[in-house]
């Protein structure tokens, strides 16, 4: 059985290098640009891969939705195993790609779509076979972690840290997907699908960005609460449903996440049997992510089999997950869940009672209307 890679960008070329160096048979690489080093391996015509019966494993690293969806669905329908690093694709078409794979008796793997080089989804899936996952939680975006680390350790302002991230290639010219939380929301949706054996979409994940976080917020939460800040995604069983949200979070300085520096990621699962397992590493980059894509391909090459279950219908309920929040705003209208308000000039620093994630995100919309720079962060509870 031979392999093909769709897309020779950052991740695709990383996977190609890793696989060929280790001696695995990559027969074809699809790309629209010429790459002399690929010689006859390069093709610009997907049919060369689709109609080649020797090719049994197709890795998609094109990104986006349209071409990737067309190629991946055709490959699955033709009975080829598919591996992808494309979180947008996996998030958007999970139900149908999953069904298409099952119908054709082939595997669909996407470990590198969340956590980059960390074998996160792969180990999560392995755990689900014989444990009940209560919660997944963690640092899933390297850019925002880099920004926080630069602010906390090096005393940078948010805009300085963001510029530095852009200069180093960690953040795009338009950094919205990172700092407004959409990237983490997708990764949480994908993780929740595995953890809770269901199908949720990224729109169900309540998301508050890191965009409005300021050095003065950091100084305040550090001095008043002895807390530091990380940008965390959550998926948690609560009541009969699950909560899915992404928020700046106030954590204790001696928690594991507090010392995750630079653009690294750390993601944890909390299993009924195994307890907490945490996984740390590079959440992005040519070689880490390319390697993770390659690892899924090698698993299939070595004969790994799928352990698919019928997905269960699970209710997403962000009204049931409750915690305290910190809010900084110039908005004047008070909410009845304010527990303590500290005014400094025209700025209010607020601690709420325990309220639900849904209540906080609803309130945030109103706060942002009055003061577009308003910021909030959830209090991660003290461990037992």
């Amino acid at each position: 059985m031979k392999m093909a890679i769709l897309g020779y960008g950052v991740v695709g070329s990383g996977a190609y290098e890793v696989l060929t160096k280790a001696g695995y048979p990559v027969k074809r690489v699809l790309d629209i640009r010429p790459h002399a080093e690929l010689g006859d391996v390069l093709t610009m015509n997907f049919d060369d891969i689709l109609h080649d019966d020797e090719i049994g494993i197709v890795a998609e690293a094109i990104g986006g939705l349209s071409a990737s969806y067309a190629f991946v669905s055709k490959a699955l329908a033709a009975g080829k195993h598919v591996v992808t690093s494309n979180k947008h694709l996996v998030c958007h078409y999970y139900r149908e790609l999953r069904e298409l794979a099952a119908k054709n008796g082939v595997m669909l793997r996407f470990t590198s779509s969340a956590g980059g080089g960390i074998p996160w989804l792969y180990n999560l899936k392995r755990c689900v076979r014989c444990d009940r996952i209560e919660k997944v939680m963690g640092i899933l975006n390297g850019t925002t972690n880099f920004i926080l680390d630069a602010m906390i350790r090096d005393g940078r302002r948010f805009d300085e840290a963001l510029s530095e991230a852009q200069r180093l290639g960690y953040a795009e010219a338009n950094p919205s997907a990172d700092i407004d939380g959409n990237d983490v929301a997708r990764k949480i949706a994908i993780s929740a699908n595995i953890a809770f054996n269901t199908v949720v979409s990224e729109e169900m994940v309540l998301t508050f960005g890191l965009r409005n976080f300021r050095k003065s917020d950091l100084a305040y939460v550090s001095e008043k609460f002895g807390r530091t800040v990380r940008y965390l995604g959550y998926g948690a069983r609560v009541g009969e449903g699950i909560a899915l949200f992404v928020e700046p979070t106030l954590i204790l300085p001696d928690s594991l996440e507090a010392n995750v520096g630079k653009n690294n990621n750390m993601i944890s699962l909390f299993g009924e049997v195994v307890g907490r397992l945490a996984f740390y590493g590079q959440g992005a980059g040519k070689y880490p992510t390319g390697l993770s894509l390659a690892q899924d391909m090698i698993d299939i090459y070595n004969g790994a089999t799928a352990y698919l279950y019928e997905p269960e219908e699970v209710t997403v309920d962000n009204g049931a997950y409750r915690r305290k929040y910190f809010i900084r705003t110039k908005a004047q209208t008070p909410f009845d869940f304010y527990d303590h308000v500290d005014r400094v000039g025209d700025v209010s620093y607020i601690v709420t009672r325990e309220i639900s994630v849904a209540e906080m995100h609803d309130a945030a919309h109103l706060l942002l209307e009055e003061d577009a720079d308003s910021f909030f962060a959830g209090f991660e509870p003290q461990p037992d």
Copy 2:
């Protein structure tokens, strides 16, 4: 294909519960004591398992060397896959059990023998397929980490913390395997065998215990160097060989290991391609370790195949790995590698120049002859 478990102690009974709850076919459990809840599944005769052709996967959770070796080698020779949590067995008989498995075309898995509930060896092995591992390093013993955490966070003395660990069942009445480092040395030998595709034995691992660590040492290294302490095992490529050692280590308070609390473990691999990956969780206990044993069994049940390579001969050379050391001793004889000596009463607090691990362990033998309470710890270098 059905499963059998040898031994119904802590780990074996944990695995049995996990497997039966998840619906996997455990046909037989071997134990020398009656267990009413097992009904007809219990046998006291290994031949009932060995000669049962339905049983294709045998998990060994007896511990020790003699019975376990006899049963495991017979099972492999009979063409049954073997999974074990027994670090003593894996360490002592690795070369021959590996060859026996290869010869009979069956798998030998032992993820739960190092790291307890953490899928450490499993992921390490997966990485080795297409990456070059430069170093493995981490907290591999929950008892000593519990003791350090109790001393650092709760201000306990070493003996108080040890008693507490014994009361909670984390440490044996004779705690030597934990606090003198033999347990970690075995886990490092097993990890090195996977990481560097070789066969080393625990005797090659230079080991210095935590036994002589005192509250006053903690206060000194905290005040003078801003360091905290963890008990770490190392396996690292250096020059043409590898270094293997276990030492109390002075680490920075913002390193990942510094916030691993209670009896948890954290183990890292450093790959040329993937960079650092760290794995955190419960390193021992009925359910975490039982689950990990069960996971290896389920992998094989689902058709996992081995990726065995011929082991390479690798030289163990602890003379090539160099770092600075902290020493506390009443011994009077100075060594020429002392860089700074601070005398308080009859106690010398010493910082050495960069010396090799071998030099330090040789010197420690002499220091202990003069002062049996002497203590040393390696300085983990500042990260780049």
